[in-house]
């Protein structure tokens, strides 16, 4: 059972997630007639996959819970780090804001991206797909009446549900303790937009990483590529700092990349930085990116399988 390499994912994934066993490709002879079954029987298949995936996730619940809790610790470091940065800037120039963000805004933003990452990060997804191609376990998706992406999506939903179950209380506690950093609850419309952006962040994260994993059909070893992607994603999704702080050309480039919808966009929506037509446009663009990567991952699978030569016996 392999796990994600620690360094990048520890900073990158949501709290606790990076320590989870990676994708369930080693798991059973799975699948579904996702594409062709009549609806009730399709639901039964989905439900069974979800139920069994949840059961599997719960096998190592103790280790999982401990890992989740330990990964809340960096929050404290972040709060102190940015506190020090802002007080240094204040002492030097008297400014209380950096690129339009006060210390309080900054911490609120940071906590919200953490929530965004809890939806959009997919520890082990791309590397798991690439590994299953390399070692041949991907075969079961070709042999059985099963849709690989559909199965992996359900497996990931189960994975996330269990994660939220474990992480909900610590998340609530942290947000409660840090409530002073927030301007207050946004209105219902903003909250719904926030919820929609989180749901789409999940789907975007899933299909984007799944597409990356499919590159394994062409290049057997993709771990360096994934490393580069994660590094880019860490900066340009807005996980490290709000991307609207980036100046000039870089700022404009980042604005057209899909990565911002993984962390920056949901947080900005919650904080009321994006409103009105810009919000509608943002949600529509996020949806468009989800569709783009949904199609891209399907296409990559379709053409990849044709290339596939069934490695590993």
């Amino acid at each position: 059972m392999s796990r994600e390499p620690g360094m990048i994912s520890a900073g990158y994934a949501g709290p606790g997630e990076s320590d989870e066993p990676s994708e369930g490709l080693r798991g059973g002879r799975l699948g579904s007639g996702l594409a062709s079954a009549a609806f009730p029987s399709r639901l039964a298949v989905w439900w069974t996959i979800l139920r069994i995936s949840i059961e599997e996730r719960l096998v190592y619940r103790g280790d999982f819970a401990l890992g989740t809790l330990m990964r809340f610790l960096p929050i404290v470091t972040q709060i102190f780090l940015w506190g020090a940065v802002f007080s240094a800037i204040g002492a030097a120039s008297g400014a209380t804001q950096v690129a339009g963000y006060s210390y309080r805004d900054f911490i609120a933003y940071y906590l919200l991206t953490m929530l965004g990452r809890a939806f959009s990060s997919m520890p082990g997804l791309a590397s798991g797909i690439a590994r299953s191609i390399r070692d041949g376990t991907v075969k079961k998706y070709l042999i059985q009446p099963i849709d690989m992406l559909g199965f992996l999506l359900l497996y990931r939903v189960a994975h996330k549900l269990v994660y939220y179950l474990v992480a909900a209380a610590p998340f609530a506690l942290v947000f409660y303790l840090c409530r002073g950093f927030f301007p207050g609850w946004p209105d219902a419309a903003t909250l719904s937009a926030f919820a929609a952006s989180l749901a789409m962040a999940f789907l975007l994260g899933f299909f984007l990483e799944a597409t990356l994993g499919m590159i394994g059909f062409w290049f057997l070893e993709v771990s360096s590529l994934l490393f580069v992607y994660m590094l880019f994603s860490y900066f340009f999704s807005g996980h490290m700092f709000p991307i609207d702080m980036l100046p000039g050309v870089l700022g404009r480039v980042v604005q057209v990349l899909p990565l911002q919808y993984l962390a920056y966009f949901p947080s900005a929506v919650f904080l009321g930085k994006i409103t009105g037509p810009a919000l509608a446009w943002g949600l529509a663009t996020q949806l468009a990116w989800v569709v783009v990567f949904m199609v891209a991952s399907r296409a990559a699978f379709h053409f990849g399988v044709r290339r596939y030569s069934g490695f590993g016996g």
Partner: protein
């Protein structure tokens, strides 16, 4: 009725050639050399319903590639195949619900969950009606003696028990065609015997079509009346197991127990001495001259006991593989019809 029909099936791979050393690795970044490996070079085969066929051949002969082609995992370079009327590499669900592939080295069950959970999932994937599912599962688990292990996590099962669970998982949807790739690899003698027994009974009862690859000649001898030998991507023999010996075993082994202490080298004129532990001697004799040799020995020497045997099957087959152009004087590799 033909269940599997293969015509001129061929599959070649392009394999990247990596030479040793850093310099060559750097060169490989810009200019890659590829070699074409012809794993399967034009196979014709017809298998009827209810046949239990063994694929024999050395590693790399093309057995597993053929099974992968027939189960739709890979697409051929040329040629045609139909299994149950379907073209396998189209991967239609209608086909995928009718066959199963079991690979001895691959664990397909959920590792941390009881096998029964994996079975439940199969019930859904293959849309098996609930009562039908339970009946099949209970029947298979009692046949293989693993009924009480159903609710034990798979990781806690022994290799043999796991293999049985793998087989059950593959048979739950009552496939009409079953591809078995080394199903007994790594199992102890008892587990091997149990799996063999199960496969024989199951196949006879259901009259399903099975293609098996195995390195254990005992598997093949116990299960398959028809044997297809593949070497270097081609079928070089298709017939009965005993036919292999008739066709390729160019010699027999005469075992003698001499009554007086004659030095063994005296016997060397009758044939090649395979073993000499006086008073016992084993001679390798050309098949065609066995009667004359035997007559001469009995006429000129005092013999207490004598037996004439075929060489061990493993040996015949090993010779067949190492000398694919024919070790025996009766071999005719050009045409493979028995």
């Amino acid at each position: 009725m033909a269940v599997i029909e293969i015509e001129g099936l061929a599959k070649s791979y392009r394999v990247y050639q990596k030479k040793e050393g850093i310099l060559h690795s750097l060169k490989g970044l810009f200019h890659r050399e590829y070699r074409t490996v012809e794993a399967v070079r034009g196979i014709d085969l017809r298998v009827d319903r209810g046949e239990f066929v063994a694929f024999l051949g050395p590693n790399g002969a093309g057995k597993t590639t053929t099974l992968k082609l027939l189960s739709g995992v890979i697409t051929p370079t040329s040629g045609q195949a139909r299994v149950l009327g379907h073209v396998p590499w189209k991967r239609e669900n209608a086909y995928r619900r009718r066959f199963a592939l079991v690979m001895g080295q691959k664990n397909q069950l959920w590792w941390d969950l009881p096998a029964n959970e994996s079975f439940r999932l199969h019930q859904q994937i293959y849309r098996i009606e609930r009562r039908q599912f339970e009946r099949t599962r209970d029947e298979l688990t009692s046949m293989l003696g693993v009924r009480e292990l159903l609710s034990q996590p798979v990781r806690e099962l022994s290799l043999g028990e796991r293999m049985k669970m793998e087989l059950i998982a593959a048979l739950l949807h009552s496939p009409e065609v079953l591809f078995l790739d080394e199903p007994t690899i790594g199992l102890d003698v008892v587990a091997q015997y149990n799996v063999q027994n199960f496969l024989r009974h199951y196949q006879q009862a259901r009259q399903i079509t099975i293609l098996l690859t195995s390195h254990y000649m005992k598997d093949v001898a116990a299960l398959c009346r028809r044997v297809v030998v593949i070497s270097l991507g081609r079928i070089i023999y298709d017939g009965s197991l005993s036919g292999i010996i008739d066709r390729f075993g160019g010699h027999k082994v005469i075992s003698l127990q001499m009554s007086n202490g004659q030095p063994p080298h005296v016997m060397a004129r009758y044939g090649q001495i395979l073993a000499a532990e006086p008073p016992r001697i084993k001679l390798r004799v050309q098949r065609a001259v066995v009667p004359q040799v035997l007559g001469a020995i009995l006429a000129h020497h005092a013999v207490e006991d004598v037996s004439v045997e075929d060489p061990p099957l493993e040996q015949v087959i090993a010779e067949m593989f190492t000398h694919p152009n024919g070790p025996g004087n009766h071999a005719d590799f050009g045409e493979s019809q028995p």
